[in-house]
């Protein structure tokens, strides 16, 4: 399934991450997953939240640079080789992954957020494959 991820620009200075989490907490928005990509000067915080549009609005009101990006939610068996199998398929089809991060919500399955260069192509490949990679509506709740 394709879902909306919230990305926030953060300068590398103390307290900023704190502020983001506080704003979301005050609004009662739950974070299911997040990751930070950082360089020497700045970072990008990527979040999966219960209401991305509202999160964007609130963060913007607090002067953050925010963007909503479509990402694909996939799942993988929580055992050696589970992820490799899926990535091999995408690699064979020349799908380039910009970034990805994983969170585990059960002993058996890991949920992975994928941001490929070509979102639709990647989604279609995974959907048409027999491997049952995609997280489908209703399979995962925030």
């Amino acid at each position: 399934m394709i879902i909306k991820q919230v990305s926030v620009f953060l300068e590398n200075k103390s307290g900023r991450l704190n502020e983001v989490t506080q704003i979301l907490s005050d609004a009662g928005l739950n974070m299911s997953a997040f990751t930070i990509a950082d360089t020497s000067d700045f970072g990008i915080l990527r979040l999966i939240v219960s209401d991305p549009e509202r999160a964007k609005l609130l963060l913007k009101q607090n002067n953050f640079a925010v963007q909503i990006t479509d990402v694909i939610l996939v799942k993988s068996p929580n055992r050696p080789g589970g992820l490799a199998r899926m990535l091999n398929i995408l690699n064979a089809e020349n799908v380039f992954i910009e970034y990805m991060y994983a969170f585990s919500n059960s002993e058996e399955t890991a949920v992975i957020v994928l941001r490929p260069t070509d979102l639709q192509k990647c989604h279609d490949i995974l959907q048409n494959h027999s491997g049952d990679f995609l997280v489908n509506e209703g399979q995962y709740s925030f």
Partner: protein, 432 residues
């Protein structure tokens, strides 16, 4: 040694006579050969006949940097291009540089004033002078070069940068005089120390330093670290280049070559001449230049003039070290930088807004410039590589405009102060 004793030790009356005669001729020539000067004089109701002596100089209109820009590139020249044998240029307030032109006689006069400067500093014909100012459009390198040749000393035209080679030549050629920016001199000292080269193992005895402001403390530091006499030389391309004034061995103010460049000090607010010896803005009129004479050019440098006879025997008026300016021009690594140049670049780029903060530090001995630019919502990308590309684009544009390297830092929106009035756009942490 005093290179031109007749001039450099002339009495005040003699100097007045020389200046008066030359000023009268210059005004006459400019009025008849340059439209923009003629217009400015007419606006003040002046004709050449109103200028009869040096005392009339304050009647003349001022020239400012934007006059040069408005007449870009050659509109300030007063001779046909066939007479101009060289041009130099320095960075202007906008993308366009400030251009100056020299006739053959101008170059000869320039060599003469640089020669006088070198002689004041104690350089003689047996010296080996390493010119580590940049050669090119900048007046520093070629200015020092021809003055050194004219003196009869040996010039090493190495130009700027290439520190290892600078040190190698100092060792192998027995360089006795180094000419560069004072901050580069300190950098050279540092690298030498790292390489385990002591100043005692070199032949260096004099440094001719200019093109940026430097304090007495910096002088002490250079003199201790390099075991040399550090001499301050002053100049600006609009007037001629280096050699407008220079310190003698007594290091008590820079002797102005006032038979060629008449100095005045004005109050930058009222534009009226200040009392003798008072601090104010330095203004120059050239009275022998042919290619691009300039009348009452406002340098924006703050200083005062000292008319007492110097211990060295020279009577040429002295100006104190310039430590302040009346505009927002910054001198970074010897390069003139106006904050408005940065604003122009940011405005030209659709991805940025003209809100920025320039932070200048002196790390070790080199100036380091950090530029903070806000990330705009609509151009904030979720991907690092796109933000890095944007940062590189800003860096490249600004570097090519300013001519110095900078570090661009992307910051969050609305974190840079906004005010209706004059916003603080520059934080200069250098201790000069």
């Amino acid at each position: 040694m005093i290179w031109n004793e007749k001039i450099e030790c002339a009495s005040r009356d003699e100097m007045d006579a020389i200046q008066s005669e030359r000023l009268i001729q210059t005004v006459k020539r400019i009025y008849h050969s340059n439209e923009s000067y003629r217009k400015k004089m007419q606006e003040k109701g002046l004709v050449p006949g109103d200028i009869n002596s040096i005392r009339d100089i304050s009647k003349l209109p001022f020239t400012i940097k934007s006059d040069l820009r408005d007449n870009y590139p050659f509109g300030m020249f007063t001779t046909p291009m066939s007479e101009i044998v060289r041009v130099h240029a320095s960075s202007g307030t906008t993308g366009k540089p400030t251009v100056v032109g020299y006739t053959r006689n101008d170059l000869q006069m320039w060599a003469e004033v640089v020669t006088r400067s070198l002689a004041m500093a104690g350089v003689h014909k047996n010296d080996i002078v390493q010119v580590a100012y940049g050669y090119g459009l900048f007046t520093g390198g070629l200015g020092l070069h021809y003055g050194t040749e004219n003196l009869g000393a040996t010039v090493i035209p190495i130009s700027g940068g290439n520190t290892d080679k600078q040190i190698l030549l100092m060792q192998d050629f027995g360089t006795s005089v180094i000419a560069c920016t004072p901050s580069y001199a300190l950098y050279l000292a540092e690298v030498m120390k790292e390489m385990g080269i002591t100043p005692e193992s070199l032949n260096l005895r004099i440094g001719i330093f200019g093109a940026e402001p430097w304090s007495e403390n910096m002088r002490k530091e250079i003199e201790t670290k390099l075991k040399i006499k550090a001499i301050d030389i002053y100049g600006l391309s609009e007037v001629i280049g280096p050699g407008v004034s220079c310190e003698c061995e007594y290091q008590c103010g820079m002797h102005v070559m006032e038979d060629h460049f008449i100095p005045e000090i004005i109050n930058p607010e009222t534009l009226e001449p200040v009392e003798h010896g008072e601090m104010g803005e330095l203004v120059f009129s050239t009275v022998t230049k042919e290619g691009m004479p300039i009348l009452r050019y406002r340098t924006r440098d703050l200083t005062r003039l000292i008319y007492d006879k110097c211990e060295c025997g020279r009577t040429l008026v002295r100006m104190e070290k310039c430590l302040g300016r009346t505009d927002d021009m910054l001198i970074i690594r010897g390069v003139n930088v106006f904050p408005s140049q940065i604003e122009t670049v940011l405005l030209e780029m659709s991805e940025t807004e003209p809100h920025y903060l320039l932070i200048i530090d002196r790390e070790e001995t080199l100036d380091v410039v950090n530029l903070m630019v806000e990330v705009q919502e609509q151009f904030f990308s979720d991907e690092i590589k796109q933000l890095e590309t944007l940062r590189k684009k800003i860096t490249d544009r600004i570097q090519s405009t300013l001519g110095i390297s900078i570090r661009v830092k992307l910051v969050e929106p609305k974190t840079i102060e906004r005010t209706a009035g004059k916003a603080k756009r520059v934080i200069d942490n250098r201790k000069i």
